[in-house]
């Protein structure tokens, strides 16, 4: 049995009431319920308030650079397929600075999970528009309102036929735990976009704002149906669906790649005989 307590308790630098607290608790609970011990797990993050998550967990971690959680996480997983790899970062990090990496990760389909803490604002740098900030929403850096159309990360992921696409809300903890568990169990790239309030800098998308709008997808939603998935993925106004929007069984990256089927790279040593024969090929 693995208990949540093994993942430790730390003092955080997050504001009271921040959605990050719930996401952290749910992540720990999901890992414990999946019977994953801390040394079997690697949390990778970029930069931002959400990216501090692995600092508050007792497990393997690589806290890297802004926007770069996904390349690092994929590298970790490719080097050791036996580790459970979860990237954790905010909307700015995952969809802005790391936008190209997000697109490539959806295409590549490495067996890992991205939990994007999506509060529709930049928290660490104190309140500028993020890629998911609504058009027209005023901030200190965009006093006339954010001029750009917001990115819809789940719709983008569904468009690209990502393996697993879910949306969750930090106020629905049991549901969030289920989403994270399913994402980690999915054999391929899994996105969990988690709506969460930024209590200090986003006065529009508050806890109450999300609470009012979020509703759970019922059993009538067929997550294998791409058209149905696109419809719910595009719904982000008075009503916001949460749950598994889309799921398919694309083979994960590396299936059939001989280099990846021999287990962790750390356990390999040079096959000198093979090397001699490769060198002989130059004669």
């Amino acid at each position: 049995m693995v208990s949540m307590e093994e993942y430790g308790k730390f003092e955080t630098a997050w504001c009271p009431g921040c959605g990050n607290h719930a996401i952290l608790a749910c992540l720990k609970q999901a890992l414990a319920e999946l019977e994953l011990a801390p040394h079997q797990v690697c949390i990778v993050s970029g930069i931002g308030q959400a990216a501090k998550t692995p600092q508050y967990m007792n497990c393997n971690m690589f806290n890297g650079l802004h926007g770069r959680a996904l390349p690092v996480a994929q590298g970790v997983k490719l080097a050791n397929p036996e580790l459970a790899v979860v990237a954790v970062s905010g909307d700015g990090c995952s969809y802005g600075e790391g936008g190209n990496h997000f697109l490539a990760a959806l295409r590549r389909n490495v067996n890992m999970t991205l939990i994007a803490h999506d509060n529709q604002i930049y928290g660490l740098t104190k309140g500028q528009a993020s890629p998911t900030t609504a058009r027209g929403q005023a901030t200190k850096a965009q006093p006339g309102g954010s001029p750009s159309e917001p990115l819809n990360p789940v719709a983008l992921a569904v468009t690209m036929k990502a393996g697993f696409v879910a949306r969750a809300f930090s106020g629905e903890k049991d549901h969030l735990v289920t989403m994270i568990k399913q994402a980690i169990c999915h054999p391929g790239f899994a996105l969990v976009d988690v709506l969460q309030p930024c209590v200090s800098f986003n006065k529009v998308n508050t806890f109450a704002w999300y609470r009012e709008r979020c509703y759970k997808l019922g059993e009538d939603h067929n997550s294998a149906d791409w058209d149905a998935a696109m419809t719910v993925a595009m719904e982000f106004d008075e009503r916001i669906p949460i749950g598994i929007l889309y799921r398919n069984s694309r083979a994960p990256f590396g299936s059939g790649m001989p280099g990846l089927e021999k287990g962790p790279l750390a356990l390999r040593s040079v096959n000198r005989e093979e090397l001699v024969s490769i060198l002989a090929g130059f004669e």
């Binding site: 393997n60 650079l65 690092v72 080097a79 280099g259």
Partner: protein, 561 residues
């Protein structure tokens, strides 16, 4: 210049197959026992343009490319025009009979008559060339078998027939060309390999098993060789979405126990710089293969330069140690790349192999590489007290035992933020000082392991040519050609850090010290001055995108001494 050598230049458009002709001819010469050195010059386009593949060959060692052409294989008329000024007095020209030779000493080849289809024109050209340099037809026949056997016996036989017809045709011609002196009897078996292939093989010998890269000329063939040759050794390779992803992916893999490499050129490396800094603070080993081409920005994409030393030297904000190797030959590419992995793993910091387009594409004959190099320093999988494990534990030499996540209950916490011994984020001054000092102190160990520069020639010579990386060959040849002065060559194959105990005597004992570099600002001479206080005041610099040659150096020396 070696009188006994000849310089064969094959010129034509991209897509005409001149590289295939060149590679087979070069290998045939090696098998006959000759030395070779190839210089490739190509334009940044897929088809058309003017490209050349030059093979300098002879029975004596060959150090560098030359401008003079003894045999010009012109696959089109443009080649004749562009290279007529370079032809030596004894030169012959090999061209299609349809091309006007303007009075040049020429072998006008009836391609249509000798080959059943245009597909075989390359084989005709190869046969004519082989016969012209008196290469035994059986050697080229053997190579055609090796090259085409996968395509079936019919293709092999058709090519062999064309080859023989071309040989027979040449024997019937009257033309004036003296073959090279015979090669030594029973030559040692030699490999034909270029700089980039040798770097890839050095990486494989060091146990490199993870590559992430974004293709960029002239580095791409390092990645392609790692992929094609490394497959049998379990290499995991991924073409990343960009260079930023490539370096970060390599660091993730390295953290998780892979031995990682990234391959790029200056423009790509410029994007990787934030990742180098990340490697520095997280103390994650990675080897960067930086194959230089002229910049800034896109520069001359397919030409050569040594302009990125400063970039490699200063890449990454903050302070952390690094080592930079600059091989001068394919052998050095192999052994120094292995060395870069060993140091990167041992000191847990980024290390560089700095090559350039000239060396990258330059095939040479080299003795077999040693496949039994000692195992590279490696990490611990299961620390003695997993519960107590601290990734950044303080040690006297700054090297913390590096555990790999997932193999024991030890938790491995790597952090781009300043951190304590356990990898947790901190902001207090004393811990910061401790951690930064711990990283920097690793440089002391690295300083004691610097690969010394090599001195060639007479000590205390009138002139010492100071060089690094691929300029070694041209400098050696210039040294041998100097008549009125004694000359030495001091070649640095590790350009950072520098250990002045290893070389100051050579510099201080010299008459003139002349820095010979493929850049406009003498980046290495400046670095040397900064590190040692030794001021170089004479320079021979080349930055037109072409490699240094002994002719260029000797001409430069005229105004210096």
């Amino acid at each position: 210049m070696t009188e006994t050598s000849i310089n064969i230049l094959i010129g034509g458009e991209a897509g005409q197959g001149l590289v295939t002709i060149g590679q087979l001819m070069a290998k045939a010469l090696i098998r006959a026992g000759y030395n070779i050195l190839v210089h490739q010059d190509y334009m940044s386009r897929i088809r058309g343009g003017h490209n050349t593949f030059a093979i300098r060959t002879g029975p004596d060692p060959i150090y560098a490319a030359v401008e003079d052409v003894d045999i010009l294989v012109a696959l089109n008329a443009e080649t004749l025009e562009l290279h007529r000024e370079e032809l030596t007095d004894r030169a012959i020209v090999v061209v299609d009979e349809a091309i006007d030779c303007q009075g040049m000493n020429a072998l006008r080849v009836p391609f249509k008559e000798l080959a059943p289809k245009p597909l075989f024109h390359n084989t005709v050209a190869l046969g004519v060339l082989g016969a012209s340099v008196c290469n035994d037809v059986s050697i080229l026949e053997g190579l055609l078998h090796e090259t085409f056997h996968k395509k079936g016996d019919e293709i092999v036989q058709a090519n062999v027939e064309v080859l023989r017809k071309a040989y027979d045709w040449v024997r019937e011609q009257e033309f004036d060309f003296t073959c090279m002196p015979p090669p030594p009897e029973n030559p040692e078996p030699a490999m034909m390999i270029n700089g980039n292939e040798a770097i890839a093989m050095g990486a494989l010998a060091a146990g490199c098993n993870f590559l992430s890269f974004y293709p960029m000329t002239p580095s791409t063939s390092v990645a392609l060789t790692l992929i094609s040759k490394g497959a049998a050794l379990g290499m995991v390779a991924e073409q990343a979405e960009d260079e930023i992803a490539a370096i970060n992916m390599a660091l993730g893999a390295s953290y998780a126990g892979a031995r990682s490499v990234v391959t790029t050129s200056g423009g790509g490396f410029a994007l990787m710089v934030e990742g180098i800094s990340l490697a520095g603070i997280t103390e994650t080993p990675v080897v960067v293969v930086l194959v230089q081409r002229p910049g800034p920005a896109t520069g001359l994409p397919t030409r050569t330069e040594q302009g990125d030393l400063n970039l490699a030297l200063y890449a990454g904000h903050g302070e952390f140690p690094r080592a930079i190797f600059a091989p001068g030959t394919p052998e050095e590419c192999f052994y120094l790349t292995y060395r870069a992995f060993d140091l990167a793993e041992k000191y847990q910091t980024p290390c560089f192999v700095l090559s350039d387009q000239y060396l990258a594409d330059s095939y040479r004959n080299v003795p077999r590489f040693d496949p039994d190099l000692p195992e590279v320093a490696s990490s611990v999988l299961e620390p003695e007290n997993p519960a107590e494990y601290k990734r950044y534990a303080m040690t006297d030499d700054g090297i913390s035992p590096r555990a790999i996540p997932g193999f024991s209950e030890a938790l491995v916490k790597a952090d781009s933020d300043e951190h304590d011994e356990a990898g947790h984020i901190i902001e207090d001054g004393p811990t910061r000082i401790g951690m930064n000092s711990k990283r920097i102190v690793k440089a002391c160990g690295m300083w004691h392991e610097v690969v010394p520069p090599e001195y060639y020639g007479e000590e205390g010579a009138d002139v010492v040519l100071l060089c690094w990386g691929s300029t070694l060959g041209p400098c050696l040849e210039a040294m041998e050609s100097m008549k009125d002065h004694t000359c030495g060559v001091l070649h640095f194959k590790q350009v950072y850090p520098l250990n002045e105990d290893q070389f100051m005597d050579f510099l201080e004992g010299a008459g003139h010290v002349v820095a010979v570099e493929g850049n406009a600002t003498a980046q290495f001479a400046r670095l040397l001055g900064q590190e040692t206080g030794f001021r170089v005041s004479s320079f021979i610099l080349r930055f037109d995108g072409r490699p240094l040659t002994s002719w260029y150096i000797l001409k430069g020396l005229e105004s210096i001494i």
